[in-house]
């Protein structure tokens, strides 16, 4: 069963083009379509789906953990305005930018070594195992984000709005730094979107807390004057991310995927040819 329909317009007319998902003029365009754009698309979509599950679930799980300590009455840990802006402003732009621009391998490598296309056929970017690992990682990160401030401020005189601000800032920082850890190719747009979102979040939280009508008035200024706030903010990022970092580096070293080897070969200039082996298909050079 076909996944994508590609029509070639030409001497026999345009009927195939009308019925297809993609259309092109010459047969030779099929090669870059599949090997380059198909591969990039698969890798981007796979990663983005996992990242979006993580990004939304981590936020909701923080709200969930808080409910357990409000007598189950669904008070939101994070102020309403920040909850709305989370998906719209704080974390959406980096997601979109990385999903469009991130490339794991260059066009040249992908065309020279068509076997790299097998990564998609073996489901290496998105599979049931990867999904459940992502969920487990999300659970751990939400536990760290919620419980570190919880235990740090248990029995203290902190109010709901301040602790909510701490959770908001922590979650946004964490989600963006997690993405930064996974970006393969950093362009100026990726930099601007990730660090820009973090700065935009800080500005928005400050603006929300400068409106006297809202219950959290001035909470952020009171919060940043506490040393415990800065310590929690830094500690949570590292504590939440180091398991993922460690496991990723371990797998990268012991069971590297083809993509990983190809990236290293690209960067450190090794030839990927192993003498005496046959390559199945003639590489098509553009």
């Amino acid at each position: 069963m076909a996944d994508v329909g590609i029509g070639i317009s030409g001497q026999e007319g345009r009927q195939a083009v009308m019925a297809s998902d993609f259309a092109m003029g010459q047969f030779r365009f099929l090669v870059p379509l599949l090997l380059v754009h198909g591969h990039w698309n698969y890798q981007r979509m796979g990663y983005m789906i996992l990242y979006n599950f993580y990004r939304n679930a981590v936020f909701v799980l923080v709200l969930f953990w808080y409910v357990l300590f409000t007598g189950f009455t669904l008070t939101t840990a994070i102020t309403e305005w920040s909850s709305v802006l989370y998906s719209v402003l704080y974390t959406s732009v980096p997601t979109i930018v990385i999903a469009i621009l991130d490339k794991d391998l260059s066009r040249r490598s992908l065309l020279t070594y068509p076997q790299l296309y097998g990564d998609g056929q073996r489901q290496e970017s998105y599979s049931s195992t990867l999904f459940w690992l992502t969920i487990a990682d999300t659970l751990w990160q939400s536990i760290v984000v919620f419980y570190v401030p919880f235990f740090a401020y248990w029995k203290s005189d902190i109010d709901g709005s301040s602790l909510g601000d701490l959770w908001t800032l922590t979650v946004v920082f964490l989600v963006n730094i997690h993405l930064a850890m996974d970006v393969i190719r950093w362009t100026w747009i990726s930099d601007a979107s990730i660090w820009g979102s973090i700065i935009a979040t800080c500005i928005c939280v400050i603006i929300i807390d400068v409106i006297p009508m809202l219950p959290g008035y001035w909470a952020i200024f009171d919060l940043v004057s506490k040393g415990s706030f800065w310590i929690c903010l830094l500690g949570i990022q590292i504590a939440a991310l180091f398991p993922r970092f460690g496991i990723k580096m371990f797998i990268q070293h012991c069971k590297p995927s083809d993509i990983q080897i190809a990236r290293e070969a690209d960067k450190f200039g090794n030839s990927m040819e192993l003498t005496g082996q046959e390559i199945e298909m003639n590489p098509s050079r553009r």
Partner: protein, 332 residues
């Protein structure tokens, strides 16, 4: 043939995805360096935080059970609700270490959900700020207006449940003055509570939820109310009662005269009086220090493990023998 090129989209580095980029790859050296850096940073910070928390002197005394006289011990509720019973209670606190001024006096409540959703909503921001908005009571149900429809200022459950135990502290026969000015956030006293809004019809009829308010003092100066209305985030919390500006020597005994007015008996809440000094990390809390030391320690342990891994199972970067088609070669 010009029209052949007319359909070509305009070239830009962005649309052809050829923007200049940095492609970092984490080599073994970087991995080990990062773990060691984190460990080297976190362990000292953790130890600093732990020692700061250790330097905090905190005296905590639970008095709600002890302050109920023996004849009411099985029926504390009726004791507290009866306006005629004697509510004064004397407690003695031992001072383990010298307390250096400023010493903060808190009341700590446990099992009290100030973060209950309907409790948190039950107040009127407009009413607190402006005397003309005294009829803005739509979110204050069930404590909105009196039986004959007069507005209650401040309305709502948060104000209605105002904590009203009082404490008088003395040591070596001399009374310790507790400074009750400046305990609320300045931003609250200036912007959220009006200086021309006065309490009206407050705590006059129906169930008594807590303390009463002096109707001659404007809300911006009712600091106990302002502190109380900053609803706490967690069910075990403390709120600032006042500040003591003199030192208290070690091994002294502080005599506390408590007016045990507040009813926490109905829902199994607990009341404690807390005296505490503060440091840059706040009150007494070992958690942050311990957590930092643990994370730092685990990272150093992982750094050692990675060093062993890279030494005993090295892999050359870009080594083509790891490619899947080279590991399972297809013979023509």
């Amino acid at each position: 043939m010009d029209h052949k090129n007319a359909k070509k989209p305009s070239y830009s580095r962005f649309s052809q995805q050829e923007l200049p980029a940095w492609k970092p790859i984490l080599t073994p050296g970087w991995v080990i360096a990062s773990f060691i850096t984190i460990g080297a940073l976190f362990v000292p910070i953790g130890l600093l935080a732990w020692s700061a928390s250790d330097n905090v002197v905190e005296i905590s005394d639970r008095y709600d059970e002890a302050c109920v006289p023996d004849d009411f011990s099985s029926n504390a509720e009726s004791f507290i609700q009866n306006p005629d019973t004697e509510k004064t209670c004397i407690r003695n606190l031992k001072v383990p270490k010298k307390l250096v001024a400023p010493i903060f006096v808190y009341y700590q409540l446990e099992n009290f959900y100030q973060n209950h959703r309907r409790f948190v909503k039950s107040k009127s921001e407009k009413q607190l700020r402006n005397p003309e908005d005294e009829n803005d009571m739509h979110s204050c149900y069930p404590v909105a207006n009196t039986a004959d429809d007069k507005p209650i200022v401040p309305c709502g459950l948060i104000a209605w449940s105002l904590f009203n135990d009082t404490y008088k502290l003395s040591t070596r026969g001399k009374q310790l003055t507790i400074d009750k000015k400046g305990i609320a956030w300045k931003s609250d006293t200036e912007a959220k509570f009006g200086s021309n809004v006065f309490p009206k019809n407050f705590q006059k009829e129906g169930l008594i939820g807590g303390g009463t308010l002096d109707e001659r003092i404007p809300l911006s100066e009712q600091e106990d109310l302002i502190v109380w209305m900053r609803t706490a985030a967690l069910p075990k919390f403390r709120k600032l009662y006042g500040r003591i500006e003199t030192d208290i020597e070690a091994h002294d005994t502080i005599k506390v005269e408590i007016e045990n007015n507040y009813n926490t008996y109905k829902f199994g809440g607990r009341k404690k009086l807390v005296l505490s000094t503060t440091t840059w990390i706040g009150g007494k809390n070992d958690f942050v220090g311990m957590a930092y030391v643990s994370v730092g320690g685990i990272c150093l342990f992982l750094a050692i493990n990675f060093i062993l891994l890279y030494v005993f199972r090295p892999r050359r970067l870009g080594d083509p023998s790891y490619l899947s088609w080279n590991r399972h070669p297809i013979n023509a």
